[in-house]
Amino acid sequence: MVSPTKPGPRVSGDFEALLSQAHSRSSSEVVGPGDEQCSVVDASELESVPGSEGAATEQGPGPAVQLLEQAATAAEEGRNEDSEVWRQQRKHLFVLTHSGKPVYSLHGDENALAGLMAVMDALISFMKDQGDSLQSVRAGRHIIVFLERGPLYLVAAAATGEPVSVLHLQLHLLHSQILCILTDGFQKVLTRNARFDTRRLLGGVDGILEALHTSFEVDPSAFLVAFAPLRMPALLRRSLLLALQTAVREGGALYGVLLAGSKVAALSQGASRPLHPHDLLALGAFVRGSPSFQAAETFSPVCLPHFNPSAFLHAYVHYAHKDAKVCLLLLSTQPDSFMRLADAARRFRAEVNDSGALQAAARSGLQAGEGQVSISSLPALAGGGEPGMTPLLHFLYKHPGRSQFVLATWDALAARGRLPQDVVPHYARIHAAVFRKDEEFREPQPSPLRVYYHSTDEYAAIAYASAEYELYALFDPLAQKLAIVQICQRLCAWVKGSQQDLFVPM
């Protein structure tokens, strides 16, 4: 760990200037006339994000609202416990076919919600008549977002405060997760035969889809389009990586992934076809949501939709360390490659056991937050300190070049009664504001430096985004702005200095 004795090179002094300008100027104005490198997003824009569905409701409030009322009634008319479920949940995800047949529902039984699904279906056809722009409506506490994919409709109803763009992305990823399990072959069947019951093919997958939903709640992988690396000593990671690359080569595999819980400890991939972070997200949910993998070595078909939505890869899956959920995945295009992959995996295990690299990964995976950066362990100048002793409450740092992010542990926020699922939507809103994604989700493009600052009773939130790094941080609302800016600089410097330990080499 390198402590930041000098300010970070990248985060230079003009950062501060930008911030002060951000305050002195009115909202969402470009800083510095003609300076296209920098734009400041102000809080007023953030505020507008959750409400930006106004456009949708304005276009056709009457019939849409009527239909939603019907939907609510349908939910109430379902079995009592189900309508309870409907009202209590912060978020619902539904999948139904074009003919209104239920395919999946995150909470409760799709059959009990069949009435609701039918109304959703009517709502969707109504909205389709309004044209493509209509993708969301607000209904009381819930925002309802729609997505059409092939013969399927996906619907999210959320009271989480997440922006439409993020809910839209989550539906997209829910669809990808279904493809990950089935490939897109079933969609052709369904298109030909609308009466086909897709649920027959989705037996026993609830754990997988729930794992995906959990990742939406507690980690920003989805909207950052990035994955969380496992923090571990660089030297030991190096030997993990070498052993993994050898296993991939010897096994004739395409990809090798070593997971530790929800983190990635090492990744071996061809330079020509890097794994898309969203494929990695789907793969992670697939593994975490399939407890049977912990019982024995497994060979399973799995589809990576960004790689090829129409074909399975064949995954060798084995937990190298059960307690720490360290799981080796070797992905091959060859359906008869199990023995070869298993042999390669055996040598991998022997090697990383001998070098101590496996134990190091396990140790890190077993730590609180699977080795997330604890604020109390940071240098004081970078905001380090026990909860209450430092204004830094939490941060999120993305390395866009590697599509990876580092998250702080949640303890300081927990001490204020805040759960990850309260905070992640907040980051999602900040991210949407910084990248101005109000409607459909697009992958973040490398952008000029943007600075964002917004303060409420609860936190002062700050974000810096450039092509080289993105920092999102939450501070005590009483913190001095100057202190905030200085901590952010030192924090970025600390991350840069520690990046060998924090990030997975690619």
Binding site: L182, L201, G203, T298, P301, M339
Partner: protein, 218 residues
């Protein structure tokens, strides 16, 4: 369906009929037997393997994804040894089209149903048909009626099982992964078929259906 497009693997040359010739290894004479378990989801395939290989029962057994692999050596009373390479396949419908991946080249198959579930017995018949059609003539098949401990919920009688087995020249046994009744019998019935040439008494193998007045407490 979603699983279309995956063709089964060609059997490795060395693996014809699933009995690999002795590998050039220290113990050169142990025959390896590729055994595949097939049957509807929830009938207890994973529990049977777990009971046999690790002598455990997991009431919370989790639905299998893909197919789980385990190898296990059996020592038969006559002193011979057989090494099983067991493929415990997923019974969920979406994997049905991938089954050839696992049964192709198998020396033996256990088709498992749940004696309390008539649908699973129908599914077992389906697997019998598929194996007879695609798996080659030499494959040894055992029909297994599992959950024999659930006496009061029984729907499929022993006679039903025996009849199906004898129609298709399969071995038959009833088991309980929960109580362990009959479990090792199943694996030993198969192992005897492949034990080292000297001891290879199909002599031991009684006529399939009759072979197995289920060796447990019903």
């Amino acid at each position: 369906m979603g699983c279309a497009g995956s063709k089964g693997p060609p059997a490795r040359p060395a693996d014809v009929k699933g009995v690999r010739p002795p590998a050039p290894e220290p113990q050169p004479t142990i025959p390896r037997v590729k055994l595949v378990l097939l049957g509807d989801s929830g009938v207890g395939k994973s529990c049977l393997v777990l009971r046999y290989v690790r002598r455990q029962f997991d009431p919370q057994s989790q639905v299998t994804v893909g197919a789980a692999f385990m190898s296990h050596s059996v020592h038969l009373p006559d002193g011979s040894t057989v090494k099983f390479e067991i493929w415990d396949t997923a019974g969920q419908e979406r994997y049905a089209s991938l089954a050839p991946l696992y049964y192709r080249g198998a020396a033996a198959a256990a088709i498992v149903y749940d004696i309390t579930n008539p649908d699973s017995f129908q599914k077992a018949k389906h697997w019998v048909g598929e194996l007879k059609k695609n798996a080659g003539d030499n494959i040894v098949i055992v029909l297994v009626g599992n959950k024999s401990d659930l006496v009061e919920n029984r729907v499929i009688s022993i006679e039903d099982g025996e009849e199906l087995a004898s129609q298709h020249s399969m071995l038959f046994a009833e088991t309980s992964a929960k109580t362990a009744a009959g479990v090792s019998t199943v694996f030993e019935l198969i192992a005897q078929k492949f034990a080292s040439p000297a001891a290879s008494g199909p002599a031991e193998a009684r006529p399939p259906a009759a072979s197995s007045s289920p060796a447990e407490s019903v």
